[in-house]
């Protein structure tokens, strides 16, 4: 097995162009597991950890640009206040060791339906910046996932960054697992309020072959809130609205039975998580209409 270790982004793109079958490796927390399990035998590894700029973030024109190689721990520490939904999700990833190594770029490229980073990106309307020696593309995150563990990268492309707007309203993320930490999701749900656009964003994980938005639920709730003037003078939500939102989220899912759970349970749990997280973000919005959703635990 060859081991390529570029020290600049330019060199990495060149290397990928010359070795389109090279497997990029960032934190290695997915790649190494796959190699151990003999699920893949890469002819060469393209190590991205020598590229400092990939593990950095910046702010441009009101948007955050998160380098694909930024580990979860830094994402939580450095961006948790501006991206609370993503930070809650990042906190549920693996263990401290995994969060020290694992990256959002790796999470995206693995494109697992259970990737915990995906639902908050969907709820916030993030974009994935991908690059090759041929140039750069910016893909809406929902276009990035094309199937179970499949994505829209061409063989010479690498993920360079994720573009995401800092939260303008409360955000939440909730994950079902059969253990209280370090567990692959049975299913997940993310919600983000966008008061400036009078929109609600959602993201579902382990609910279908790809992570997805519950678009009908978003439309319904955004409509209800706008029609009743709730963005300007928020009041407690009607139970019927909360229930309908939960039902629509559950209906957006097409989960499966597998070794981790059943389709029925997943559908049920998505509805419950949708209702609860809506309650949390709405409470927060009512109490502090201008603040962002702060996570509950340090």
């Amino acid at each position: 097995m060859d081991f390529l270790r570029p020290t600049s982004w330019r060199d990495a793109l060149e290397a990928k162009a010359h070795h389109p079958d090279a497997t990029p490796i960032a934190g290695g927390t997915d790649v190494m597991v796959e190699i151990n399990f003999d699920h893949r035998r890469p002819t060469s590894l393209l190590d991205l950890t020598g590229i400092d700029e990939l593990a950095s973030w910046s702010e441009h024109g009101g948007k955050l640009r998160i380098g694909a190689g930024l580990p979860y721990t830094r994402l939580i520490d450095e961006l948790g206040d501006r991206l609370p939904g993503l930070a809650i999700a990042a906190r549920t990833v693996g263990s401290p060791q995994i969060r020290n190594r694992g990256t959002l770029g790796g999470n995206l490229a693995s494109a697992s339906p259970a990737g915990d980073g995906h639902p908050p990106l969907l709820a916030s309307g993030a974009e994935v910046e991908v690059e090759s020696v041929r140039g750069t593309r910016l893909l809406p995150v929902e276009e990035f996932f094309t199937g179970v563990k499949r994505h829209a990268l061409a063989s010479d492309e690498l993920i360079s960054a994720v573009h995401i707007a800092p939260a303008t309203g409360a955000q939440q993320f909730s994950k079902i697992g059969t253990r209280n930490a370090m567990v692959i999701a049975v299913c997940t749900f993310a919600i983000a309020l966008h008061p400036e656009r009078q929109r609600v964003g959602t993201g579902l994980g382990s609910a279908a072959p790809t992570p997805l938005r519950a678009i009908e639920a978003e439309e319904f709730l955004s409509g209800e809130l706008a029609d009743s003037g709730q963005w300007d003078s928020p009041r407690p939500l009607d139970d019927s609205v909360v229930r309908q939102f939960g039902d629509l989220v559950a209906r957006a899912a097409s989960p499966i039975d597998d070794v981790r759970s059943t389709a029925d349970y997943r559908t049920h749990a998505l509805g419950v998580m949708a209702r609860r997280t809506l309650g949390w973000v709405w409470d927060e919005y009512r109490n502090h209409p201008s603040s962002t959703g702060r996570p509950e635990c340090a």
Partner: protein
């Protein structure tokens, strides 16, 4: 020993610990393990060694039409490819019943059965060569339902003689007795894994005498040696085994794994061969806990006195017998729990199927029925409108009581006391408003509730477990103790074959020698087959039997010394004792320094310890004057918070009262209770090997979940010491009971919180959501 011998694992621990019996010295291997410097069997290495690999059956049940090793053998770097025809001795082994081929001949009976072996100069080469072995299988319909295997005579016979490994009835009093209040239920238990972290590993080194030296991690060197020698066609003395670092065992290292395979490759190639399983292979390469299906009926008076228990238990042994006979023995004899019941009829079946083989795991055969009988006791309390603890105390077994097999307990059995003590331990605070940290709630870090849907429940469990081997097995251990003067100071070396699997035996042996010989420095010799058998580190038995053997050997050494001094001084031997490195007379004080008495001599004595004889069960009625030599008891109380809408559970507190007879090392006892309780908690809420059509679907720690620190709550542990007059120092086995009573306590607490029947363990979120009410 050959000059290839690898560096000893750090089982030869030169650090002498402080402290005698009843103190809590720290483990001699503790610091190494915490620093990550302890060498496990997977770290073994020899110059010029080859790597072994095992080709395993992809089918649960299939006929082998042919095996073509040609392409594999032609792979560069490959030194050997072996099949059943290369097994030098008998191609069969087994702990209780010799029924398992070293390498499959014409049939495979489970997914994962060993079919061929490869030795190559690199593990990856071995792996690739393995893929080039062409096995032509005729796939057959697997038997996967143990209850059917017991009764359906139209099914194929997986072994000569049929699919029943053991059928054992137990009858006491009137088997048809009737009662005013009757509760019944059907309970099922999934397949639990030992989940030890150190995978199966060993290094076999061919010896000039035609034998083999095998370095490995195991629970029982001599049992391994006996089976390995048989399969290699060698006399036992040519198969020498040395213990390497053991990364956990819990029963999963009682059966052979790499032993014969690795030795065959080494003998065939004339080179040292190392084998290490990866995690997935480990899941296929060792036995698991028997899943069970258990029908129970309890009858009681309106006052709550048990009148009868009737039960039928099916244990799925999988493809080979392993410890299934013992599981049936324990499951039936202990099947009513620690209760006094006048009328009993229990029937236990251990079956062959094409599921993964099941064998020893902590709490062997006693874990399964405990889930059923404790659920039944709660059901009975419910039917009677009584407190669940009261019903248990009212029916508790006690010293002088009789078990269903007719054995009278001639040692303390403080069941009622344990229940009473555990219920008096402090309870956690109720949380009135949502706690600040979500990690304290069901779902933990996953942020699923801020208090919504959360209901608290409390449940109890109490259990009985037999200690040591039973049913007539000659159960013993051997210890060699050597005393000599090194650097002017007495040094005792304790040599046994007893496996340190994490339980702290290395510490206890040193404590015993220090106390018995009155010396400061005690070393533990590496475990090997140069000394007599110690039996397995299982059945909570090593402190009992090996502790007894070390005591006996120390006494023999002491006798030699005291006789010398008595002869020299004219004092009566009865007045003499050893203390602080000196021989002391109760009449005249210090008589001599050990250094002077011993001089340049080496005083070495080897002794065995055999516990009281036990006797087999009557085949029809299960009666036996003494089926088991000792019983141990523990009681748990679990406090859980359940998210009743999502079915997620947080065990808030798990408390335990246990009788340990004598706490030889009180902190190690606490460690055993904490670890056992965590393993029992895991079984209650998450640990299950999912088997579908004979195939394991979650052979990894990604999907076979074991508790993390966020799942295992703080414990109040209450240890009592009611000495057993028949055992060395009064000890009572400690390791298994907490694994047994914790599980039913947690499940009971979830039932209390949810009102659901929850008849399957482990309890999954979808059960809590979907299940029927009690």
């Amino acid at each position: 020993m050959s000059d290839h011998a690898p560096a000893r694992s750090p089982q030869d621990l030169d650090d002498s610990i402080a402290g005698g019996i009843g103190e809590s010295p720290t483990r001699p291997d503790g610091a190494l393990k915490v620093r990550g410097e302890y060498a496990y069997a997977s770290d073994l290495w020899a110059e010029d060694m080859l790597w072994g690999a095992t080709l395993r059956s992809p089918h649960p049940y299939a006929r082998i039409r042919s095996i073509d090793i040609g392409p594999a053998l032609a792979t560069p770097g490959v030194y050997a490819v072996l099949t059943h025809s290369d097994v030098p001795g008998e191609n069969l082994y087994g702990l209780k019943i010799v029924d398992q081929p070293v390498l499959a001949v014409d049939v495979v009976r489970y997914r994962g059965e060993a079919v061929a072996l490869v030795a190559a100069d690199h593990p990856e080469t071995a792996r690739r060569a393995m893929e080039r072995i062409e096995v032509d299988y005729e796939v057959l319909e697997p038997i996967t339902d143990p209850e059917l295997a017991a009764h359906d005579t139209t099914l194929p016979e997986l072994h000569p003689g049929g699919n029943v490994v053991r059928h054992q009835p137990i009858v006491k009093g009137d088997p048809e007795a009737s009662a005013d209040v009757v509760v019944s239920g059907l309970y099922t238990l999934g397949m639990q894994d030992q989940a030890f972290l150190g995978p199966e590993a060993g290094l076999a080194v061919p010896a000039p005498d035609g034998g083999v030296d095998l370095y490995l991690a195991t629970q029982d060197l001599h049992s391994d040696r006996k089976q390995t020698a048989q399969a290699l066609g060698l006399p036992p003395e040519k198969v020498r085994m040395t213990m390497s670092g053991v990364g956990g065992a819990f029963g999963g290292r009682e059966d052979l794994s790499i032993q014969v395979h690795c030795s065959m490759l080494a003998l065939h190639t004339g080179k040292p061969v190392k084998m290490v399983y990866d995690r997935e292979e480990s899941f296929h390469g060792h036995v698991h806990r028997h899943p069970a299906k258990m029908y129970y009926e309890h009858g009681a008076t309106r006052d709550g006195d048990l009148v009868y228990v009737r039960a039928t238990l099916y244990f799925d042994g999988g493809a080979y017998a392993s410890k299934t006979p013992v599981v049936v023995g324990n499951g039936t004899t202990l099947g009513i729990g620690p209760y006094a019941v006048p009328n009993v009829r229990i029937e236990g079946w251990g079956l062959y199927t094409n599921n993964p083989p099941c064998g020893a795991m902590r709490g062997l055969g006693a874990v399964q029925p405990a889930l059923a009988y404790e659920a039944q006791m709660d059901k009975l309390a419910d039917a009677l409108g009584m407190d669940p603890v009261e019903v248990r105390i009212r029916n508790a077994l006690s010293q002088g009581g009789t078990t269903p097999t007719g054995q009278v307990l001639d040692y303390p059995a403080p069941v009622a006391e344990l229940l009473d003590r555990v219920r008096r331990l402090p309870l956690p605070a109720e949380h009135d408003s949502a706690p600040a940290d979500i990690r304290d709630l069901p779902g933990g870090a996953s942020n699923t509730t801020h208090g919504e849907g959360v209901v608290r429940g409390i449940g109890y469990g109490v259990c009985i477990k037999n200690i040591c081997y039973a049913e007539g097995a000659d159960d013993y251990s051997t210890a060699r103790v050597r005393l000599q003067i090194i650097g002017g100071e007495p040094l005792a070396v304790v040599h046994t074959a007893a496996a340190e699997v994490g339980q702290g035996l290395v510490t206890v042996q040193q404590q015993i020698a220090r106390t018995e010989l009155g010396v400061e420095r005690v070393n533990i010799h590496p475990n090997d087959t140069d000394v007599g058998p110690a039996g397995s580190s299982s059945a909570s038995r090593q402190t009992y039997v090996t502790g007894g053997a070390v005591r006996n050997a120390c006494e023999a050494v002491r006798d030699v010394l005291l006789q010398r001094v008595a002869a020299r001084s004219g004092e009566s031997i009865g007045d003499l004792s050893l203390s602080g490195g000196k021989v002391v007379s109760s009449a005249t004080g210090v008589l001599a320094d050990l250094a002077d008495v011993i001089g340049d001599d080496v005083i070495e004595e080897t002794r065995e310890y055999h516990h009281r004889e036990t006797y087999p069960l009557d085949e029809e009625l299960g009666t036996s004057e003494r089926a088991q030599v000792q019983h141990a008891f523990s009681a748990h109380r679990a406090v859980v918070d359940v998210d009743t809408e999502l079915g997620l559970v947080k065990v808030v507190q798990l408390d335990c009262s246990q009788d340990v007879g004598k706490a030889m090392n009180p902190e190690a006892v606490i460690g055993q209770i904490q670890g056992g309780s965590a393993q029992g908690l895991g079984l209650a809420v998450m640990e299950e090997i999912r088997v579908d059509g004979g195939t394991i679907r979650n052979a990894s720690f990604t999907d076979y979940l074991i508790p993390t620190i966020l799942d295992m709550p703080p414990m109040n542990i209450d240890v009592i010491e009611r000495a057993d007059p028949n055992s060395p120092y009064g000890v009572r086995g400690v390791g298994e009971p907490p694994t047994i009573s914790s599980t039913p306590a947690v499940v009971a607490a979830i039932r209390a919180a949810t009102g659901k029947a929850l008849t399957h363990t482990p309890v999954a979120p979808e059960h809590i959501i979907a299940d029927i009410p009690r």
